[in-house]
Symmetry: C2
Subunit: 574 residues, 2 copies
């Protein structure tokens, strides 16, 4: 018995674009067939994109997905992939409700269907809102290999379909995923795959989606692990890729068993597929990349796909001379090219000289479009009309900048980017309808201390490549200030950002109580002040633009807090 | 055997306010004891408020809820309610996770606990995100009545705890609810309670929360139905209320059974409670109210509680002279009193004379504060600075109004109200950071055709009461216009609102496809145009303020659509 060549197609589907996604699938399947693969594996819900959210509830959308799948099977057959087994995720619907399904396509038809069993309903996932769980195993035998199909969460919990497949008898598990990026997740994923492969005693081919969808960036990183944990191949992150792996036959194949408690078994045996003359494919393992590199790639991917998939061709952002807007501009240049990025300096009477020169330097080093629109005249018009002072005057400056960006967007069609970071958004250091203006907020989930780390990393990368570092040293080194009144500094009312971020991570990302955080060594007064600020700023976050999730708990779909909430420091222990 | 007096306490809890909610519970329990009730029933999660969203995941919050419950039991005992059975909803947490629980309190202690079994995970509900389901029945025998406890969704599906209680043997089911208002829901609730009472063969006491929490308004309407469907009592909607009902003993009490498949049984028998000298309480049935009355009350309740529970004392809104801002102002006056409402007329060069006079008339008829702030100077400052025309110039008018309101809010502490209706929000006829500015949007879920109906209803109510109708006839009768350019009318680019709303209801509220809507008799071109507009406006809705849900599918937590979404008319059948 020969090895089986399995291709993992790590593609970038677009939510709702059934014809486009099917064309993409057909094109990568064709490439896989040319590479001699007998089996091609696509990500979870590759036909519809992921997550489709409430589109999953619309019967007409589910019907269209099923129809697109059937047409895809025919297309594959006509384009010469008819004798390749293609496994692809799509949306199904039957009398029990909608299903997060995977289909096995062969010979121009849908051979078998597997419905996802474990439906994640936590953090960004709402699958029990949408899908009915499956309880039928799909086993397809080809060239002596029995292939079992599972979907994403199915392997994250013990129990479920993996031991059921092991009981039924399989030689390889195909796992379709739409697993979004967050820091450190790829190591977790690998250890999960390793554990399940060991439990099942067979290799697992794990293919993941790549690309951005609203708040999520899918990182790919598809891989194949042997039953003993040996890495048989790994795709790079954040790029479409075809990973081909030759899987060796089992030494001692087990027996088939159709009676598995709690499960039915849908079993198919295909005629032997011709193995074209090929040598063993070399093992391809993408090298690991540093954290900053992956975060940066997630930000670039999230922004690029939001812009392109929503039909924009350019972005505009305010350049304050500070680190946040500099990093957002650099991300935008990497995502879209400098010609698509329009920076606007909007100085006020409180703007320092270095804020203008740093903005100017950024524009020169990155080659983006740059213009200056002083806000004095518009601010004065409001101050005169309404006799503003104090906070109202501070806010009107930020809002005149927001209005200026929106007006330029209305005139030229740019998508406006908000440049706030996670630390600011957490404590409410953001002016609603001011600097919070925008269609997308690329670094909204990046804590301020990581913004600096990313800036340094990106500049170093430029040096290594022999390019001009994009981010001005002045923007990195100067103390952060909103410059809304004379000599204002962020540290006037906040602790240093390393302390702030350490507290925020515990409170926001890990739901720790004030007592827990104080016990970890932080000053009680500081912790209580920060926690109070976080709770009070929920209403601002509700109206903030969406942006790419990179931490374990992003504001947005990931962290859902009531606005009206009396659970506050002072009234009781938080 | 005597009748049992059951009190249903329909209270207005506040999310997170454990001490406040417990004080409220103790005070209503005390009243119930004085009324001679042996049993007092509070709503679902009355101790924590509902929904607590991700607070449910925070272990420190669950600990505090359990501790508050134990202290409440002691407080009740000390305040003379120790020999009253108090059943109250709270948040529990054990090794399986958080629980949506109901506790039976008696004699200063927690006697028994029931964990909600059916966890709704659809529309606005995410309970499988938060709670582990219970599988233990709680039966407390008092004065010969065996009381079973269920929570909300437990009675909405067949199966589950209701037949299990019937098998175990109970004489009365106590159902704790936090069931938010939507149009027509109260009839559905009653028929559900009727069905379950018939199935179980025992009466059901159904108590519901009242009050506003972010997007939700809870309408109360607590009721008791006999096994044969007889209405034994019904509380009014949208008011805190204590409903006392005397439940007659069963003629032929059944036997006890502790072996119920799939369930364990927690059974307690209390010493006989003293029945104080009282006559049978008269049957109290709140009369049914018309649809407009209930919708209006929901809007008033949602706004009032958002304002008060978030610590505001006043609101500001722009008065355009149109119907939307007039209705919002009238709702605000009913919710907060005229002295707490600040109307601002912000005329531009395109504003008609009648828009100013209608705004002025509204201010006079309602007695709200009123000022005029022309936007010409601020608009001109932007137009001159940025050389704006067309859409950019239209939008800057709306945005200068938004900035004006926010500046007044910053100066005086008003909560700004957005005045957009559901029809506009659906098709994107709203300027982001312009008329979309605000902390709360009272009529965002009210279709335009219903806005008119509400205005007429409210004016008629005023006439019946001998008061001045709040809404100027001119605002009701004139054709709607945004007045952002000369002679602009909404009907320039939209069908009549009755047609628009009929299409929107099918597409938005009921997820019908274009084909279905066309088949219902609407013009294909019109339907496709509307559907395209709805899909394209998702990004605006994401940043829109929250507002009270009144329809079967409100924008917000209730309808979750991706922003990036290629499932559009034209690319394929929607």
């Amino acid at each position: 018995m020969q090895a089986l060549r399995v291709a993992l197609a790590q593609i970038n589907s677009t939510v709702g674009d059934l014809p486009g996604n099917c064309a993409l699938i057909a094109s990568w399947a064709s490439r896989a067939a040319q590479e001699g693969a007998q089996v091609v594996l696509f990500p979870e819900m590759a036909v519809t994109g992921y997550p489709v959210e409430d589109l999953a509830l619309r019967p007409s959308f589910a019907r269209a997905s099923k129809q697109a799948l059937e047409e895809l099977a025919i297309t594959l057959d006509r384009s010469g992939c008819g004798d390749t087994v293609v496994v692809v995720g799509y949306l199904d619907r039957d009398q029990a409700g909608s299903r997060n399904s995977a289909a096995v396509l062969f010979g121009g038809a849908v051979l078998s269907r597997y419905d996802k069993h474990a439906l994640p309903t936590y953090r960004v996932f709402d699958e029990l809102r949408y899908f009915a769980p499956g309880s039928r195993l799909s086993i397809t035998e080809v060239n002596g290999f029995r292939l079992g199909v599972v979907v994403c969460e199915d392997i994250w919990q013990p129990g479920g379909p993996v031991p059921a497949y092991a009981a039924a008898g399989v030689d390889l598990l195909l796992c379709l995923n739409a697993s979004p990026y967050e820091r450190g997740k790829s190591a977790v994923r690998r250890s999960i795959v390793e554990r399940r492969a060991a439990e099942a005693g067979v290799p697992i081919a794990y293919t993941n989606l790549v690309g951005g969808q609203d708040e999520l960036a899918f990182d790919g990183g598809s891989l194949v692990l042997a039953a003993d944990g040996t890495l048989l191949g790994r795709a790079p992150e954040f790029a479409e890729h075809l990973l081909c792996v030759d899987v060796a036959p089992r030494q001692a194949p087990g027996s088939n068993q159709d009676h598995v408690p709690g499960w039915s078994v849908d079993r198919h045996t295909l005629p032997d597929l011709i193995v074209r003359g090929w040598d063993r494919t070399p093992v391809s393992v993408a090298p690991p990349r540093p954290d900053e590199d992956l975060v940066w790639s997630a930000l670039v991917t999230g922004l690029r796909d939001y812009v392109h998939k929503n039909g924009f061709t350019s972005v505009a952002l305010g350049l304050s001379g500070g680190i946040d807007s500099a990093v957002v501009a650099a991300v935008a240049v990497d995502a879209l090219g400098s010609d698509a990025v329009h920076g606007v300096s909007m100085p006020s009477k409180y703007s320092s000289d270095h804020s203008r020169t740093d903005a100017d330097e950024l524009a020169r080093s990155t080659g983006i479009h740059f213009r200056t629109e002083p806000i004095a005249a518009t601010v004065d018009a409001f101050v005169d009309q309404l006799t503003l002072e104090g906070l109202a005057e501070e806010n009107i400056q930020a809002r005149c900048r927001g209005m200026t960006l929106m007006a330029l967007s209305n005139s030229a069609g740019h998508l406006v980017l908000a440049t706030g970071n996670k630390s600011e958004l957490a404590v409410g250091y953001s002016t609603i309808y001011g600097d919070a203006v925008g269609g997308f907020a690329p670094i909204k989930d990046v804590p301020k201390s990581m913004v600096w780390a990313l800036a340094r990393w990106r500049n170093n990368e430029a040096v290594h490549r022999g390019e001009v570092p994009p981010i001005p040293a002045g923007s990195i080194d100067k103390p952060p200030s909103a410059e809304l009144r004379p000599d204002q500094l962020d540290t006037d009312s906040l602790p240093d950002y390393d302390v702030l971020d350490a507290i925020l991570s515990r409170y926001v990302d890990f739901d720790r109580s004030v007592e827990d955080i104080v016990a970890a060594g932080f000053d009680r007064g500081t912790v209580e002040d920060i926690v109070r600020k976080v709770d009070a700023a929920e209403y601002k976050r509700r109206q903030y633009p969406i942006g790419t999730k990179i931490t374990s708990r992003a504001f947005g779909r990931d962290r859902r807090m009531p606005v009206t909430n009396h659970w506050r420091v002072g009234t009781a222990q938080v």
